[in-house]
Amino acid sequence: MDLFETFFNLEVLARSFPMLLKGLWLTLQLGAASILAGLVLGLALCMMRLYSARPVQILTRIYIDVFRSIPLLVLLIIVYYALPFVGVRLSPFASAMTALTMVSGAYTAEIFRSGIEAIPKGQFEAAAALGLGHRQTMIDVILPQSIRMVIPPLTNNSINVVKDTALASVVAMPDLLKQATQAQALAANPSPLIGAAAIYLAFLLPLVLLVSRLERRLSRGRV
């Protein structure tokens, strides 16, 4: 089969496999770092959005809306190509992580907010009536309940972050996609691209299925 030889050339795949693995490792590092930083940023933004002084709330809201609207590729190119004009020169990895984190943080903040706002008012009141302060109420009463609800949307967001790491190849970061395109150029055969796609799928498809399961379980009943 000609087609099979072209797209699933096992010899080319085997030869490019080490390159793909190296790219995969970088992709996973970038994804994990951005997801974690995005979680921290998102929680902080959410608290500012809900519980800070009015002007800070408004600024936070603007941040969240702006970074949910801006195309990630545009942001990435600004960070990598425009910031050097004001003296900020970030490596490809740092640029990609910055852009991914800023956007992921904005989405995460909204996810946390919906999780907190879904908690009945009575929970806040019971905690307040017992003398718990705001911090303790959040840590011991509200967030543990919110987390359950936000796990599916947070996982969804994490999937998006990992998918979006592929954009980093635009700023010459040797991630999975970049390695695959280079391997393709070297071998003059597109099989490495198919290999990369298969690797993305191998990681993300199970997560997608997991989210569906979690969502079904949550909608069926609590806990």
Binding site: A127, A128, L130, D140
Partner: protein, 245 residues
């Protein structure tokens, strides 16, 4: 005379709606006060002001044991002394029964884990639920949940207990078990303010019954007097309506 709980000129607005129209009320230490009145008369609003779950205007003043109930650092102190039991229980669903009771002593009073657990088990025995400590609230009946909520409030060893219709969300067959616990509590010398529709409980347990209507206290009297010889027409009409159906 200034009471243990002292409420002076309590005014409460929800937007433009004047929900409490200048309440003056002195409650003595150890007194059991039942608050009755038609729906929307401001009963919940009144007791929620006592621990400042509701804000109230600055020309109003509430003191508990001499401490003004103001936002800020003293509020935590007041709230630690004033327990509250809600109509809808508001137990923490992600914590076991024992953990529900342990949380506030540990976080607010800094009680050790072991001491808080021992205290929780004691309190559970007191409300007749010693066998339920490791269950989650969702596994309990409404009456059991409300008794846990009472134990949870008691864990802070409050001087004052506020109840907002503690039996209104319960199936009729479970009302008794909660009222029994409250009846026992009334003997312990804790100050109680109970919003309730249970006229039998008010008659037997209260030292004083307060009738509210339209955001005002219309009448306050010991139960014998309140139920047999109400002075105000509005009180009489209310009692007719609730006792005759």
């Amino acid at each position: 005379m200034s009471g243990y709980i002292s409420i002076r000129n309590l005014q409460k607005f929800y937007g433009h709606y004047h929900a409490l129209r200048g309440i003056d009320l002195e409650i003595a230490r150890g007194e059991v006060v039942c608050v009755v009145g038609p729906s929307g008369s401001g009963k919940s609003t009144l007791i929620r002001c006592i621990n400042r779950l509701e804000d109230f205007s600055n020309d109003s003043a509430i003191h508990v044991d001499g401490v003004p109930v103001l936002p800020g650092s003293t509020l935590a102190k007041v709230r630690a002394e004033v327990g509250m039991v809600f109509q809808s229980f508001n137990l923490f669903p992600h914590l076991t029964v024992r953990e529900n009771i342990m949380l506030a002593p540990r976080r607010v009073r800094g009680t050790t884990k072991a001491a808080a657990a021992a205290q929780a088990d004691q309190l559970l025995a007191r409300v007749g639920l010693e066998t339920q400590a490791d269950k989650y609230p969702s596994g309990l009946s409404g009456g059991q949940q409300q008794r846990v909520a009472i134990a949870r409030a008691l864990a802070m060893e409050p001087q004052v207990l506020l109840f907002d219709e503690p039996t209104s969300a319960l199936d009729p067959e479970m009302v008794g078990e909660v009222l029994d616990v409250m009846r026992d509590l009334a003997q312990t010398g804790v100050t109680m303010v109970v919003v309730t529709h249970e006229m039998g409980f008010a008659r037997q347990v209260a030292d004083r019954v307060i009738f509210m209507d339209g955001g005002e206290v219309i009448e306050a009297a010991p139960p014998a007097e309140f139920f047999s010889a109400p002075r105000e027409t509005r009180t009489r009409n209310f009692l007719h309506a609730v006792l005759d159906h």
